[in-house]
Assembly symmetry: C2
């Protein structure tokens, strides 16, 4: 059956320094062969060793499963503010994951006073303010409503924020960009409940408040609340985890993570934004002029190469797949280009179907490493036509003291040993 497909060894470079055509591997309906592209595997001798796990019965069943003990290093890394245990963030190990879904145990977190241990039977959601009928919902009541499911990313506004700094931090994909994750969320569309409460036309904003000890609160534009906002009850099939808002979180697809209020207990319709501590003292973008941008909501188009990246070094010259994640809070990713020559030339990567709006999109492209020094970069475009900017362009606009909404092109330098490090391209 071999020989019926085009040999990948015939593939031609489509960009500088070894980037090959994405169709080598991922063309719809026609699959290339990898022959001559990857190092040849060891030739078989006389079969395989009989390993110890084949000679005795394995482990029994358990009600709720866990990863292999050999994957114990695949964890979130986290840091807390001094004097606290639960004020800070944890980051997804992007370099150790593949696909687009983040498993629930590894979804990034940002907490402002730890993870509350909420009894779902005691939890209530209040909708009040400028509404005709203030309403209180129990979880049992909410379960009667029609639900919907969507796959969506959530990204902390502070993700990649250190790339604003003058010098590149010596960190990898997890530490730099790990405040983004993606899950399948299921819940009740917020507009249904707002319609039931009857929102006064003067109410252009909605205060969303969490049941954590920080009462983390944000002002949400009513237009977003009436559009695709969801009260999420399930995450990747099971109830939302405590670290992601159990028993109920607000999901605002594409908006900065902080607004996707966890442990949601209250929604108040208001004429103006409430100017909470969480949207005045934080989550604003400081500009060189000393003024700040406030209420910057959608996370703009962005991409990051996760493999290879620092911590997943190259093992000798030859063929590799460059793979990463792209996303846009404004819609669908339409194009991701990859460069293996520090941005001098670019080639389009394959996008893993289905490409969904406001969800992580996995991209892949084959690359033949010649063993030399180089810089790898990726650049995303979304269906509004927006193109991920260079770091230089972003810093020129916002300076080096901004913290939030960094979405510039990120760069990994490859050294002669195949080790990768973060650089400014």
């Amino acid at each position: 059956m071999s020989g019926k497909r085009p040999r990948v060894s015939e593939a031609e470079a489509t960009a500088g320094n070894g980037i090959l055509d994405r169709r080598c591997f991922l063309a719809a309906g026609s699959l290339g062969s990898a022959a001559a592209l990857v190092p040849l595997p060891v030739a078989a001798a006389d079969g395989l060793a009989v390993e110890p796990w084949m000679t005795e019965p394995g482990s029994p069943f358990v009600g709720y499963g866990q990863p292999s003990k050999f994957e114990a290093k695949v964890v979130r890394t986290f840091a807390s503010a001094p004097g606290t245990t639960g004020t800070g963030s944890s980051r997804s190990p992007l370099h150790q994951l593949d696909g687009a879904i983040t498993p629930n145990g590894l979804h990034f977190e940002r907490h402002h006073d730890g993870i509350p241990d909420i009894d779902p039977d005691a939890h209530r959601l209040l909708i009040h303010g400028l509404v005709n009928r203030p309403l209180v919902f129990t979880l049992e009541t909410l379960a009667r409503y029609p639900m919907e499911t969507r796959i969506a990313f959530i990204e902390c506004a502070g993700n990649s924020g250190s790339l604003y700094q003058k010098e590149p931090a010596s960190l990898g994909a997890q530490a730099l960009h790990g405040l983004v994750s993606c899950a399948e969320w299921t819940g009740v569309r917020l507009a249904i409940l707002l319609d039931e409460a009857g929102v006064d036309p003067r109410a252009q904003w909605l205060l969303a408040e969490g049941a954590d000890a920080a009462s983390m609160s944000r002002s949400i534009p009513m237009a977003k609340a009436m559009d695709d906002a969801m009260l999420a009850l399930y995450q990747n099939g099971e109830r939302v985890r405590p670290s992601n808002g159990y028993p109920l979180r607000l999901l605002l697809p594409g908006y900065e993570g902080n607004m996707n209020v966890k442990w949601l207990r209250r929604l108040k319709a208001t004429e103006q934004p409430t100017m909470t501590k969480d949207e005045t003292s934080k989550y604003t973008i400081l500009l060189p002029s000393g003024k700040s941008l406030q209420f910057v909501f959608p996370m703009q188009a962005k991409s990051v190469i996760t493999r290879p990246s620092p911590g997943t070094s190259l093992k000798g010259r030859g063929l590799y797949e460059i793979s990463g994640l792209a996303w846009s809070g404004n819609g669908k990713i339409t194009r991701v280009e990859v460069s293996a020559d520090a941005g001098k030339s670019w080639a389009p990567a394959a996008l893993q179907e289905p490409v969904l709006a406001k969800a992580l999109t996995r991209f892949r492209i084959p690359w033949r490493w010649d063993g030399g020094l180089t810089v790898l970069q990726s650049r995303a475009t979304d269906n509004t036509g927006y193109v991920q900017p260079t770091r230089e362009a972003l810093v020129a606009e916002r300076g080096t003291k901004a913290l939030y909404h960094f979405n510039g092109i990120a760069s990994w330098a490859v050294d002669e040993h195949g080790e990768l490090r973060h650089v400014y391209g």
Copy 2:
């Protein structure tokens, strides 16, 4: 902002006994209001109680998260063969989940001698038999190959098997139908490696063998191996769990679960099927004639209502969402119809987008329960035109002693208290 959308209270029944039009809730771009459809929530008094979890700092970060302690009942149920701890199966709690993805901790399992604890550094995959070049792969070698991602269900051939029996078992969705799950799988397309080994044209079959103590083995048609078969390394973003084949499983989208060999160690190209113990003593369909059907591979179109179902009773008359899962091993689900009058009338449910081939598809339809006795059913159709048969039609063909590939219509009876039970419709 209320009143701009059609009121759902205007919705008309589209099938007998209270089934409403699916567009009440899920029409593309226009969302109905639930007013008058669900019981009114409690009116707000003077705000909300301050619960204890709002008065003290919450829990700190952990590297790998877990569900809430209040969800401790959401587990797989399992049974082992007498004298063993790891020969049997565990079932996903379908009635407690929503969406289409199954979280990794709750994916169903079927083991033939427990779960091996495989050291990935020692694990090898051998491709041999009728090939030009026998090859051995380490996991590190496999990681060099191009990967792909797809969302796919896996269903045990024995799922729902008790519905062949003469009397309906008094069980719910988990116990009857919980041997099906769905995940996002990422790995290397098998055809790439087979091309590299160079398969002899005489080889029409492939023996796949696991590294468990049972050496669970199945014969795979070469046509399937060269089509959409995958060597899966990642499940919902992280490495495949030990209970699902760590570090490597064969994924044959749509084919009976048993053929998706876990802990894959060997693929041997052969002219004929190998007739292993696992495909002769088991996984054949016994017919009334005493003959058996062997090598029945794709799981045919099927659906099951998960909510309401036994264990999730109705709380008084009024509006509910009927929701469930549909799937086909032969392609995409194109239609799911729901009946609330024991099959006398049917209405099409809304299918949650994106509808993917060989993946679970969530369906939903609103229903107004009048408090009376009735029987709920669902019926799936796939893009080959195949329609899920009645139980009667399936039993007429295969008798009551068959075990595998049951895909007939399942029925839940509703009593006057809103309790549900399994019946033959």
